[in-house]
């Protein structure tokens, strides 16, 4: 029952994948040179559907701005973890770009690696890995993130799950030990004598200690993944994005706010057992997740109500996993879990149409 597929439209194939090609101009000019214009023979009239004005935003522009916004965090990670961190970032970015290129080549699609989205995925994936993570693992994660997490769905815009987080989740499941083997930042090497480091969250979970100075976590002077340490660098980048208008304030602030409020409840009940909200905000991936992952347009809801539900549930889940789960960190899973709900959220939280009187059907 396999139907035969040939080039159905020889010579001038219909644009594949809905791309509007400009072939028609060529055809008309070349094949029918005496198709006259009523006036000004040299000027060609274009017909298209309104609106005829479009704003100047474009996908590459947005993506390149996000890359820019990630630079402070990159710099911070290099400062704290040395050149090894930079190497890891470069490897991830290159592997992501290469995977994207390979897929587009195989599928005979236009090559779009310059749009920058794969760079973001690579950078963010690297940000979620410990500085000592092996290179082959980083490559594997990148290939999975882009190949399976993005291109299998059709590429930019179609993926359901955040590719960088999916790559990280895959690595977590593939190499659970390697992904949780931390190193101390260069700045505090001599402070502690143990070989492997413990992140603030691991210490909180397994040793019941959460006395890391908040200031250290704010600046980034703790063990952890590249991008989970320096809160200030991430906030800087996030504010830049907010200033540029590429992220909706609801998402990061809603997420962080939920984490703060929800963890504050436990903290209030038993401050000896549960860490403070500030600890939760600055520990682990909360900042990176809030500013760069919850805000990923492709994998977050488009409606206002949907966005609220998304961040609030994700925030609660993150705290629940941190406090009660088997794993020390819940940011990644909370976001991935809610990613799967985004289509449903979009469908069922549509705003009321202008002038709609009757209640929306539930």
């Amino acid at each position: 029952m396999e139907s035969l597929k040939f080039v159905r439209k020889p010579k001038r194939p219909l644009p594949q994948n809905n791309r509007i090609t400009d072939q028609r101009t060529l055809d008309a000019k070349e094949i029918n040179p005496n198709a006259e214009q009523p006036s000004q023979a040299a000027t060609r009239l274009i017909v298209s559907s309104s609106p005829h004005f479009l704003n100047t935003e474009s996908v590459p522009k947005i993506m390149h701005n996000v890359v820019t916004a990630l630079l402070p965090a990159t710099a911070a990670s290099v400062y704290f973890f040395g050149w090894r961190a930079l190497l890891l970032i470069i490897v991830c970015v290159v592997a992501c770009l290469a995977t994207e290129y390979a897929f587009q080549k195989i599928r005979k699609q236009p090559i779009k690696i310059h749009d920058g989205s794969a760079i973001i995925t690579g950078m963010l994936l690297a940000m979620t890995l410990p500085a000592g993570f092996p290179i082959f693992g980083a490559i594997l994660g990148s290939v999975f993130a882009i190949g399976v997490g993005k291109q299998l769905f059709g590429g930019l815009g179609y993926n359901i799950f955040n590719p960088a987080l999916l790559g990280r989740a895959f690595l977590m499941a593939t190499y659970p030990v390697l992904t949780t083997t931390w190193v101390w930042p260069r700045t505090m090497e001599k402070a502690i004598d143990a070989v492997t480091a413990a992140t603030p969250l691991v210490m909180a979970k397994f040793e019941g200690k959460f006395d890391v100075p908040i200031m250290d976590m704010f600046i980034g002077n703790t063990a952890g993944s590249l991008g989970e340490t320096s809160a200030i660098a991430i906030i800087l980048g996030g504010l830049y994005l907010r200033y540029k208008g590429y992220i909706n304030w609801k998402l990061p602030l809603g997420y962080l706010g939920t984490i703060a409020v929800f963890s504050a409840i436990f903290w209030y009940v038993n401050p000896a057992k549960y860490p403070s909200p500030l600890f939760h905000l600055f520990a682990g991936g909360a900042m990176l997740g809030a500013w760069f992952m919850v805000t990923d347009m492709v994998t977050s809801p488009v409606t206002s109500l949907g966005q609220w539900i998304f961040v609030i549930v994700a925030g609660i889940l993150a705290v629940v996993i941190r406090l009660f789960g088997g794993l020390p960190e819940g940011v990644m899973y909370s976001i991935l879990f809610m990613n799967a709900f985004v289509p449903l959220l979009n469908k069922h939280t549509r705003p009321k149409v202008f002038g709609e009187v009757k209640a929306q059907k539930g």
Binding site: F153, A169, I321, G326, L327, Y333, L336, A340, P343, L344
Partner: protein, 192 residues
């Protein structure tokens, strides 16, 4: 408390579909539209709860009593089949509108191995009657959650540019794999 833990465990942490691979066929088959998925989920939850309620006494008061526990598979599957049929007919009689929404999904449930799996797990874990019912209900809820999530995603993907050979069940299963990755975050949430 014990009951709440069973509920969370069966619906989220050890989600039947995503960690025990039970009920994959309907999970793949009926997840293309949210409405269908939701109704299938409701129907399954209903049958699962009933199954737990019906098989527990049979197992504990009949099979164990007469010392013939090896008849459990045969007995369970017959009970399930009869139950599904009974529910179907009852609904058809009692409420045609509900039947239209749910009834068509009921036959599908007989061959849903999640239901039998539920009965077997219930026996294996030696749950009490109340626990069994909660377990049955929670499993159904977990199934509903997974299938509804999947249906939402699949509806969204109708417009996606998925590589040809991956379309259909292939991408559905891969997404299930991703959902399983996401559900891993719940691991260890409840410990003794």
């Amino acid at each position: 408390m014990e009951l709440i833990l069973i509920f969370i465990s069966a619906s989220l942490i050890n989600n039947f579909v995503l960690t025990y691979f039970l009920g994959i066929c309907p999970f793949v088959g009926v997840s293309n539209k949210t409405e269908n998925a939701l109704n299938m989920g409701f129907a399954t939850t209903f049958v699962m709860t009933l199954t737990a309620a019906a098989t527990w006494p049979i197992y504990n008061y009949v099979l164990v009593k007469f010392n013939v526990p090896f008849l459990q598979y045969v007995a369970f599957i017959i009970i399930i089949a009869a139950l599904v049929q009974f529910v179907e007919m009852y609904i058809r009689k009692a409420s045609p509108s509900l039947y239209r929404a749910l009834g068509i999904f009921l036959p599908l449930i007989t061959t849903n191995c999640a239901v039998l799996g539920l009965a077997l797990f219930m026996v294996m874990r030696e749950y009490s009657f109340l626990e069994s019912i909660v377990f049955g209900f929670a499993t159904g809820v977990g199934f509903t959650l997974a299938i509804v999530m999947m249906s939402g995603i699949r509806e969204e993907l109708e417009f996606a540019d998925i590589p040809k050979h991956f379309q259909g069940i292939s991408i559905t299963l891969i997404i299930a794999g991703m959902m399983a990755l996401a559900f891993m975050g719940f691991a260890g949430l409840i410990r003794g």
